[in-house]
Structures are given as structure tokens and as C-alpha cells.
């Protein structure tokens, strides 16, 4: 998920016209396109060709064995509408994403505000909250699988004196998965908010204080508008991460109990590698890709306009 850290495509400036004389004119000689050739070759082989082939497979009934396949038009997508498990997984994916986006960013912002203050322990706190980010999500999921032990004397139940079957109760399991994801990545949101907070000039706060603004007002009218770029990045990162969530679900519940925690990614995995319906699986992947693309576009344009307005 790290490859989505960045939100701001640098503005593509039109190439400056070569000025007569001097160095500029000289530098107008561009490097050969061969500089990009090796990267392009690998990128095309690993990303572009497979994605394009994926779009084609989505309209076939390919079983994964041999070259036997025929075009079935939109049949895979129509089958999807009748597939309770797949439709349920779309709902689960959206709910899970919504929960992760809201809680992870809320917690991340509060942590950032806390750690941003002049605390003696701020350096240690930052490392503590960030550390789960670098660990493999699969291992975090295995740890939490035990923390979510239904045994009332062990794990989270033992600590809090509860008797909840965190991962076994279908009405709770999805939120438990969201909980472990938030635990792992709240520190990621925190450091991005923190970078935003550090960019707010002190003078602005001082000026607002002189004008008699209280803590909340200063947050609302000084800090918050300046956090807009950090909010953009965090919302995009957590949304895309949520939509594509696989490792944690696969390791903790494998979609169960029943279909309670099945996501688009786990369903498309099973359709391909358990049931051998490769065409159908790619159709689900195409739906996922459309979700991700739609969300990215909406978020970019909406949050951009907000950034400009504030």
C-alpha cells in the first residue's frame, strides 16, 4: 500500500522556451528517450500488458487451464449481480473502508495533535505509534487473531472483562478487522498529519491568539485549513488501502464466519485459485479497479477544490 503515499502529481510546467544565448539554450537538448526504455519495458510487461489482458479476460469464461476460452460478453458481470457472496463482499468492502477511513484518520489526527505538543516523551511516542506500520500485515493479523480470542480470560476480553467473540460473531467480525487495521495504520495517518502540523507557521497561531481566539477556534480557523493537503493524502491512502484489503482478512478470518468478512479481494482470490473461474475472477477485479479509480478521481477533484477554497 505504500505505493500510494503521494497525492500531488507535480504540476507539469510547460517546457520553458529556449532563451537565446547562455546556458538555457544549451540545456534545451533533452536526454534521449532510451533513458526511459528499460523502465518502460519492465513496467509494460508487469503492469500494462497484464492489466490490459485482465480487462479482456473479464469478458471470457476462461478456466485457467489451457487456452480454452470463449467470449461471453457481459455474462460475468450479470452473474456477479446474482452472486450473493460477491455482492455481499462489495457491501463488506465499502463498510470496512468507511470504518477504516473514519476511525484511522480520526485517531491519527488526535495522536498527531497530542504528539505535536511540547511533550518530553514526544519522540518516543511517535516511534511507538508508528512502529506497527513497518510490520507485515499478515503477522499483525495473526497477533490480533489471538488478541481477539473468544476466551473471556485471555486477550482483549481478559483485559476489558468482556465476553465478545470478536472474529466468530458475524455481526462483530467485520468491525474487528477494521480495528486491527486501524491499530496498524493510525500511526501512518499520524505522521502525515504531523508533517502538516509542522508546516503551520507559528506566527499565524500567535496572531490568532492576540485576536482572542481560543484553542478550538485556532484549530478550526488556523490549523484545519492548513492541514488540507495532509487530509487529502490520508483520505486517499486509507480509502484505497481499505478497498484493496486482503492480507488481514485472509490471515484472520479468510472471509468467515460464513461470508461475514468476505471482501472483493478475498472473493476474487477464491474464484480464481479455489474455484478456477479465472474469467469471473478478473471481472470482479475489474469492478474493484473501477471502484478504486472512481474514488481516486472523486477525492482528488473534491479535495483539490477544498484546498484552493481555504
Amino acid at each position: 500500500m505504500t505505493h500510494l503515499t503521494v497525492d500531488k502529481p507535480p504540476r507539469s510546467r510547460p517546457a520553458p522556451a529556449a532563451r537565446p544565448g547562455g546556458l538555457r539554450r544549451f540545456s534545451a537538448s533533452s536526454p534521449s528517450w532510451l533513458f526511459a526504455a528499460p523502465a518502460l519495458l519492465v513496467y509494460a510487461a508487469v503492469v500494462l500488458y497484464p492489466a490490459a489482458a485482465g480487462v479482456v479476460y473479464a469478458f471470457t469464461d476462461w478456466s485457467g487451464i489451457g487456452q480454452d476460452m470463449s467470449f461471453v460478453g457481459a455474462a460475468n458481470f450479470l452473474a456477479l449481480l446474482d452472486d450473493e457472496q460477491a455482492m455481499g463482499s462489495i457491501g463488506n468492502t465499502l463498510l470496512l473502508t468507511l470504518a477504516i477511513v473514519a476511525v484511522q484518520n480520526g485517531v491519527g489526527l488526535l495522536l498527531a495533535l497530542g504528539v505535536h505538543a511540547r511533550l518530553r516523551s514526544r519522540a518516543v511516542l511517535r516511534v511507538v505509534f508508528f512502529s506497527p506500520v513497518v510490520v507485515s500485515p499478515v503477522m499483525v493479523a495473526f497477533l490480533w487473531k489471538y488478541v481477539y480470542n473468544p476466551d473471556p480470560s485471555a486477550g482483549l476480553n481478559g483485559l476489558l472483562g468482556l465476553r465478545i467473540d470478536w472474529l466468530g460473531d458475524p455481526s462483530v467480525a467485520l468491525w474487528s478487522i477494521a480495528g486491527m487495521v486501524v491499530w496498524q495504520y493510525a500511526g501512518y495517518s499520524m505522521v502525515i498529519f504531523l508533517a502538516g502540523l509542522e508546516g503551520v507557521p507559528k506566527e499565524l497561531h500567535e496572531a490568532a491568539m492576540i485576536d482572542g481566539a481560543g484553542t478550538f477556534q485556532r484549530f478550526r480557523y488556523v490549523t484545519w485549513p492548513m492541514l488540507a493537503p495532509a487530509v487529502t493524502i490520508n483520505l486517499m491512502l486509507s480509502t484505497i488501502g481499505g478497498l484493496k484489503l486482503f492480507d488481514q482478512v485472509f490471515a484472520a478470518t479468510n472471509g468467515g464466519p460464513g461470508y461475514a468478512t468476505e471482501t472483493l479481494s478475498t472473493v476474487l482470490y477464491k474464484q480464481a485459485f479455489v474455484f478456477g473461474k479465472f474469467g469471473y475472477s478478473t471481472a470482479i477485479a475489474l469492478v474493484l479497479a473501477l471502484f478504486v479509480a472512481a474514488v481516486s478521481l472523486v477525492q482528488i477533484s473534491y479535495l483539490r477544490s477544498r484546498e484552493v477554497a481555504s
Binding site: 538555457r24 533513458f35 497530542g114 516523551s121 513497518v134 482483549l156 501512518y188 485459485f273
Partner: protein, 270 residues
């Protein structure tokens, strides 16, 4: 002053609560099965290191660490080399081709890899690269190139052109100007590229499970996954395996924490 003090106490309390799963992880790894079932939350009394020796060999952690290291290091070298070269062209070309290619690379940031997952599996299989380091390295280089190219291109665009131009006036080719003059100037963004890609490649699970599962060339997350599946009921052993599996990257993080955190939060300025 008093407000910071109260806040400090609150934040430390939050951090302690936050560490609860880590306490569970470490304390269980130091307990024998009897302690785990009788006093699951208490400190290990007495602590035992038996789980660690068993977990190390049962999870085949030695070989997996070598596999993970080889795959991560070679992928990083390839990403830095291919990514920075491509970005030099994309940032400095004044042509439609340059702009078009840049957009083409950006597309890869948005595309979920699942869309090409099956065709790519087929391709890797046809090339005879399933179950090999080469297959994984090729995969990571391709899948992380868009993001790498994006970071480098933004950085190079912001660099003054004069350094490279001066070298060229002295008779250097673009190739020499890039390797001798421009590339050393890219050090800050190369740091970010290395950190973000290293954490991604080291921890990635799904593709190595698919490509390497059962090959004997498994990476750490895949080995740990298989190991946990096998010993699922022996929590002490499983947790010792998790501690050992997570230890290398956690140690590196603690050593380089400033740079790592900076790398992860630098998306803002990118």
C-alpha cells in the same frame, strides 16, 4: 505548563494501551503451554526461551531471511536504477512523448494489481519464473516503478538544470552528466524511494504466496504464514515465530526511525 503535563500523562496512557497487543506477543512467546492456558495475561513466570529455538527451525526462518533479503535488495537496486534513469528523461524532455509516458507511468499508481494478477501469473509461469527469485524481483520492479518514477520525476523537475548543463558544456554526454552530476544530487529522494519500497517489498504477502508457495524460496511473511497454519494451537511457539519474523524490520526501523518516519510522511512535499 500544567496542561502539557496532563496531556503528557494522557498520551503515555494511550501509548501503554496501544502496546497491549505487543505485550501479549512478547509475553506469550516467553511462556510454556501450561502458563498460556492458566495465566494468559500475566507476566511469564518463569520466562522460557524454548519457543524461539523451535520456531526458528520450524518456520525455516534462516532460509526465508536470505530469500527476503536477496529479493528486497536486488529489487531496490533495480528500482533506483531504472526509476531514476526514466525520471531523468521524463523530467527533462520537452516533448509530447515525455509527457505522454509520464502519464502512462502515473496510471500504474491507480491500477490495482489484482486486475493483472492472473495474466501476470500466466506470463511468469510461461517464462519459467514461478518459484524463483528472478520472478519476484521482476514483479516488484515493475509494480513499484510507477511510484518510484513519480517521486524521482517530481524531484528532478525541481532541480536547477545548470549543474547538468555545465557538465555537458565540458563535453560530458547526458549519460555521464546524469550518473556523475545529477544522480548524486538525488540522494534525499533516493532515501525515500529506498525506505518506502523496502517496507513494501519486505512485507508483501499475496504475490510471494502465489509465486513462491512450496518452492523452498519463500520470503519471511510466506514462511510465517505456513508455519502459523501448521502450529496454530501452540500459541507460544507461533508467537516466538512472529517475534523472530518481525524482528529484522523492526530493528532496522528503530535504527533509522527518523529517516523512515520522514520517508513515510514526505508524500506531503513530494
Amino acid at each position: 505548563m500544567r496542561r502539557t503535563f496532563v496531556l503528557e500523562i494522557v498520551m503515555v496512557a494511550v501509548a501503554v494501551a496501544f502496546m497491549f497487543p505487543v505485550y501479549i506477543l512478547i509475553s506469550l512467546s516467553l511462556k510454556d503451554p501450561a502458563q498460556i492456558s492458566q495465566t494468559p495475561l500475566a507476566l511469564p513466570a518463569p520466562p522460557t526461551l524454548d519457543n524461539f529455538g523451535k520456531a526458528w527451525s520450524a518456520a525455516a526462518l534462516g532460509p526465508s531471511l536470505v530469500n527476503s533479503t536477496v529479493i528486497t535488495v536486488v529489487s531496490l537496486v533495480a528500482l533506483v536504477a531504472l526509476g531514476s534513469f526514466a525520471a531523468y528523461f521524463l523530467a527533462r524532455a520537452h516533448s509530447r512523448l515525455g509527457y505522454g509516458l509520464y502519464i502512462l507511468f502515473l496510471l500504474g499508481i491507480v491500477l490495482p494489481f489484482q486486475l493483472g494478477m492472473i495474466p501476470l501469473y500466466e506470463l511468469v509461469n510461461d517464462l519459467g519464473l514461478l518459484g524463483t527469485h528472478t520472478g519476484m524481483i521482476l514483479f516488484y520492479t515493475g509494480i513499484q516503478l510507477p511510484f518510484t518514477v513519480f517521486l524521482y520525476t517530481g524531484f528532478i523537475r525541481a532541480l536547477p538544470r545548470d549543474y547538468a548543463s555545465a557538465a555537458q558544456i565540458d563535453g560530458a554526454s547526458h549519460l555521464t552528466a546524469f550518473t556523475r552530476v545529477v544522480f548524486p544530487l538525488l540522494r534525499p529522494i533516493t532515501g525515500t524511494v529506498l525506505i518506502l519500497n523496502a517496507v513494501f517489498v519486505w512485507n508483501d504477502f499475496f504475490t510471494p504466496l502465489l509465486y513462491l508457495g512450496g518452492s523452498g524460496f519463500e520470503t519471511v511473511p510466506v514462511s510465517v504464514f505456513a508455519f502459523v497454519g501448521q502450529y496454530v494451537s501452540d500459541h507460544g511457539l507461533v508467537f516466538a515465530g512472529l517475534v523472530l519474523g518481525a524482528l529484522p524490520i523492526v530493528l532496522i526501523f528503530l535504527l533509522l526511525q527518523r529517516y523512515v518516519i520522514k520517508g513515510f510522511s514526505s508524500g506531503l512535499k513530494g
